[in-house]
Amino acid sequence: MKTVEILVIGGGPAGLCAALSASALGAKVLIAERDEMPGGQLVKQTHKFFGSEKQHAGERGIHIGQMLLENAQAEPNIELWTSSCVLSIYEDGVVTIEHAGQHVKVKPERIIIATGAAEKFLGFPGNDLPGIYGAGAVQTLMNVDGVKPAQRVLMVGAGNIGLIVSYQLKQAGVEVEAVIEGSSKIGGYLVHASKIQRAGIPVLIKHTILEAYGDGQVEGAVIAQIDECWQPIAGTERKIACDTICLAVGLSPLTELAWQAGCEVAFIRELSGHVPIVNECLESTVPGIYCAGDVSGIEEASAAMVEGRLAGLCAAVSLSYGGAAAQTLIDDAKQELDELRAGSMGIHIREGLEKMALKSGQPKSEDDTLKSKSFAEIKSTLISDGIATADDIAAILPTPERFAKGPIAIAECFQEIPCNPCVKACKAGAITMPGDINDVPVVNGALCNGCGLCISLCPGLAIVVVDQTYSEDMAIVRLPYEYVPLPVVGTLATGLDREGNALGQFEVKKVTSGGKKNMTYTISLVVPKALAMDVRGVSVV
């Protein structure tokens, strides 16, 4: 029987961060990771992360995963087992693991469950036809295994996963016919929706999949509009030909081990299902068992990393590691979590956590200022299709006087999401957020010199630089670009509007790499002045 101080179950963002923070305080940690490659969902997240610098915002998930892994490998207090699936937690505190083909028993003093989540499934006729995948599975095939998973895809669900995977499918050269969403609003970040709309992928809200059809494999789907009661509206049915249907209809926390261990579990809709009840230190109702990351409520990976760090700190402190300094680290982590959840997109999570706090018998006195805080409601159709309207643009449009002075950054970022790399990127201090990281950025025209550093650093690809002074009738629009092939300087490329419509062929003036790690290019297109506020995408295909 192997003994260990802290067993971390799952080597994803939460698990790795838990191991790192606990080991840094001196605790001996064993990480059991099911996959051969640690990193959890990070290993396939080729997009840049939101959040703040503390959660590595602006960096791509794959790079964050690599960095966490390298740090864990370099830490002598961490033992990392890969291809090692934890099978059970028994009543005598023994945890069994299938490790190197063997049934291994481990007796830990503390357990941190960081098992993450699994994709939800949807019931519709034909839902077992080959060609129907979870969106995450398709993302793995594509970004981990290098397999082009489909030719034509219908994406079901416009949460962040549905939107991001659609974008990545497009990057991989797969046609995405549409993203459909039952709700009347886009659930994911609007900047992701805007990005795929620019790529010509329609996002259809209040739509559902009625059935999948095909002879032995998916050949298409029938979709329809739905009414307020989520019932299909007769006469709106239409067929969408596709060879693959991706389901991005939410995640369920992977709580089996918590149930087995006897942790109290409750259904909390806002946290996406059954979750173990945890206290402020993320300790479950079974003393010594902590839960971090998606297993105790579905959130972004940035929150999972901080939760992992917090659970690791608390577990180590409970083993008498860390001393007085540890409390500061714990407080910092809690504060970071509060910050990440303070925005409009965090309302659900906060409600869910409040329910959990009630159940755990530690009613949380929610920050009254946060509770009463009203968020800038997006009133335009932007919320339902991700396409900024003329009114949305008018609200952020620089004055003609400012345009006359030279290039200026325009941040088409209208939603209060936790993200601030643009603020950090701007050396001139021109981009600010009046409140916390959940505010929308404000560009100060007096300070912005149009350098464009922010373009490739914005995780949402929502910033462009427009120079109306290029020539008498032409302007330069500098745009972020993440496709292959790259436009070639001196040739013509297609300029696209916010809905992906071609606006014409324009000269490529300059192609700037964001760097080896950043990997976002900035393309300068020469466009007629009248189109400078319309051209928002580039295509060379």
Binding site: N127, E211, W259
Partner: protein, 100 residues
């Protein structure tokens, strides 16, 4: 029940359709535990990781209760299948009683 309910797969491991589930509910079974035992839904290798929620939703809908009030089935070990050979080998190394 609609004519297409038998084309809606709920439990992929054990081939249980929505029609099977609705039949169970019509027959008076009103818990996940009963439906699991009558149809085998959730008894396959994944142990109901995906179908459990779908069945719970059907029960909630039929009985007009919220998901919170649908009793969950237990999660039995192991969470992932493991071979008898690996288990037997582990016993060999700690053998504390013999065949005789």
């Amino acid at each position: 029940m609609t004519s297409k309910d038998n084309e809606i797969m709920i439990c992929r491991c054990e081939d249980v359709t929505k029609a099977d589930i609705l039949q169970c509910i019509a027959d008076g079974y009103h818990t996940l535990d009963e439906i699991k035992r009558v149809t085998r839904a959730g008894m396959g290798p994944c142990q109901g990781r995906t179908c459990r929620q779908l069945i719970a939703a059907e029960l909630a809908k039929h009985y007009g209760v919220s998901m919170e009030d649908v009793l969950m089935t237990t999660f039995r070990p192991p969470v992932k299948p493991i071979s008898l050979g690996a288990l037997a080998d582990a016993y060999e190394t700690r053998k504390d009683w013999s065949l005789e």
